[in-house]
Amino acid sequence: MEATDIGLWGVPLAMLGGAIRVSTPFIFVSLGEAITERSGRINLGLEGTLVFGAMSAYAVAVMTGSPWLGLLAASVAGLCFGLFHGWICKFPKVNDIAIGIALMLFGTGLAFFFGKPFIQPSAPDLPAIPFGAWSDIPQVQAALNVNVLFLIGAALAVFLWWAFRNTRIGLIVRVVGDSADAALAMGLNPSTVRLLATGVGGALAGIGGAYLSLYYPGSWTERISSGQGLMAVALVIFARWNPLGCFAAALLFGGAGALGPALQSVGVTQGYYLFYAAPYILTLIIMIATSSPNRTLAGAPGELSITK
């Protein structure tokens, strides 16, 4: 390892690297939740799906030696959790938020139960692409070591943004989310659309979990998620249900999360608890600045139980 003194440049570099490294679970969970919420339903259980995805990905990767099979297992597990949520919510008078909280606890508990034997063994990691190979500075190389899932997440955000506007499926999801009556009049079945949207959302959250356990930080422990799943659900509202906004918000949170350690590493050591709170303070400020007593949130699907 060649040591290069980068001094204060370490802070923006760490924020860039942190944005890329830390944001991926946020991207997948928030994109998944954006699909679900655009269809008019809230799935708060994605934290549980994330943790279960992390566990199943790690377990399958340990047993088969292939991180890709682990990724597949996580998305299938996430799909099942999502479909389960969607299926229960099809019954009349079922509250989707309550079911989400129940499934969050169920998913985490189930992951802890099945995950016990997999805390100790090591699983193979998902590959990363060294975009920093042009640089001689090892810190830059490390920051630009980009995992394939991050790239997939970025592409997915653009695709979803386009698909919501321009494809038949995107329009179906949106009309179901905005007005169930209009959807019924068009001959669509809102329950089925929401079931599938929740299923896809769950699958994406599972992939987010796989990133946690198979790449960064790259191990399965019961403390692997520090609330990323819940934060990502909040990010969707923050991003106004726009997939590109979700991607930007995830990057922002990733970068802001790297700020505290990076500042300490260059010697700004006072008040680190305040720096750790930075992303949340930022969220509060943006939410307050963009809110208005005279109108509802722009872009909010009309059928959501929190906006109705």
């Binding site: 390892m1 040591a3 290069t4 003194d5 980068i6 370490g10 570099l13 760490a14 690297g17 942190g18 490294r21 830390v22 802890f112 016990k116 805390i119 100790q120 090591s122 090892p138 810190q139 490390a142 920051a143 946690l212 960064y216 930080p217 790259g218 191990s219 422990t221 019961e222 403390r223 692997i224 520090s226 990323q228 999360g257 790297a258 505290g260 350690p261 990076a262 300490q264 590493s265 260059v266 010697g267 050591t269 006072q270 008040g271 680190y272 608890y273 750790y276």
Partner: protein, 375 residues
């Protein structure tokens, strides 16, 4: 009809025979008599008990008691440092009949364990850490801890020989005395090799935050630290991230060498089996349990991981010599003249704090050479 009667009579006979056997068994092993010489010991962990770290070290200690006759163990893991731990303690006492409880995490002590001490005066509580004080706290409580700072000093000696950038990194959880002593010891051990070495400390603010620990490790390596150690509950993430970035690592709590066999230098490990056996032996013998239990390398409370393949000859020699010195007792890590990194004098020339010095348990400074802040 007859057949059915026969069958049921046979069943009846079988049942009564089984009942008689059960009665005989309970007569042969009277439950009440066994109870007099037996005890239930409760262990409470803040995280999973196979975390390659703090909780694993305690759980290994608890597991070592399982062979001792008359002792049964109850354990609960993932108990938060909230009112939850009070409920866990109550259920261990009321449902499992525990007469000795080890709440092993720092934040369990005040107010949770103290509340239980007042509620159950006949139950003994021993807390891992340095918080019990005989003037302030009840006598059915107590604390035990090991002088693992010595182990971090030895980590520092090996790190001081291994570093090329003269910069070490320390991923720390919270700025409490035990953590600060570890950071200071790590640096002073390295400075015993080369007084130009500095150590960068990063506090994550929590005992277990996987992503933040990985970010902290990356930030340290980015700033040129080439030997990393930590004081968090589960060093697994720090060890794997640091080794993945090409830095050397010194372990903590338990032996993490399987996670990074090439990059692992050595590590400061707990040996709680020894401590728990001492308590349980006293319990069986009916002796009063000590309230204030401390020990270091010489007492077998703390041990070092075997030196890794990257440790050079000079490092090995100084490590062995320092360890031998410590085993004699009376070794002091904090000795004057020594200043804090804010310039305050923490030890005057000639002043030395041996490992047993109680002043060290209220440490609130980082020594000169550590880049970091206690708040």
């Amino acid at each position: 009809m007859t057949e059915r009667f026969m069958l049921s009579r046979r069943d009846l006979l079988k049942t009564s025979a089984a009942g008689a056997a059960l009665g005989l068994a309970s007569a042969a092993f009277p439950i009440r008599a066994a109870r007099a010489a037996s005890a239930t010991v409760g262990f409470i962990y803040v995280g999973p008990k196979d975390d390659y770290g703090y909780n694993q070290a305690h759980a290994e200690g608890a597991a070592s008691l399982k062979g001792i006759g008359g002792i049964s163990i109850v354990e609960e893991e993932n108990v938060p440092e909230t009112v939850d731990v009070q409920k866990t303690m109550e259920s261990m006492i009321n449902l499992d009949g525990a007469s000795l409880i080890f709440p092993t995490s720092f934040g369990y002590f005040d107010p949770h364990m103290l509340a239980m001490c007042a509620k159950f005066p006949d139950v003994q509580f021993r807390h891992c850490g340095g918080m019990w004080n005989k003037d302030k706290h009840p006598m059915n409580a107590g604390s035990y801890f090991g002088y693992i700072g010595m182990g971090q000093y030895l980590n520092g000696v090996v790190a001081g020989h291994t570093t090329k950038s003269k910069k070490l990194g320390f991923v720390a959880a919270k700025p409490i005395p035990q953590v600060l002593l570890n950071i200071n010891s790590f640096l002073l051990g390295a400075r015993a090799v080369d007084p130009a070495i500095a150590c960068q400390a990063i506090f994550t603010g929590e005992w277990s935050l996987a992503v933040k620990e990985a970010e902290a490790t990356n930030a340290l390596v980015d700033q040129g630290a080439d030997v990393i150690t930590c004081h968090v509950d589960s060093p697994k993430v720090v060890v794997e991230t640091a080794a993945g970035r090409g830095a050397f690592v010194c372990g903590y709590h338990a032996n993490q060498s399987p996670l990074a066999p090439e990059k692992y230098l050595t590590g400061a490990e707990w040996n709680w089996a020894k401590v728990y056996k001492m308590f349980v032996d006293d319990l069986i013998a009916g002796k009063p349990l000590p309230n204030f239990t401390r020990g270091g390398l010489a007492d077998g409370f703390v041990k070092m991981s075997p030196l890794g393949p990257a440790v050079g000859e000079a490092a090995r020699k100084q490590f062995d010599a320092t360890l031998a010195e410590m085993m004699k007792g009376g070794f002091s890590v904090i000795k004057g003249p020594l200043k804090s990194n804010k310039g305050a004098v923490v030890a005057t020339a000639g002043q030395a704090f041996v490992e047993t010095a109680i002043e060290l348990e209220s440490m609130d400074y980082l020594v000169e050479g550590v880049v970091g802040s206690t708040a």
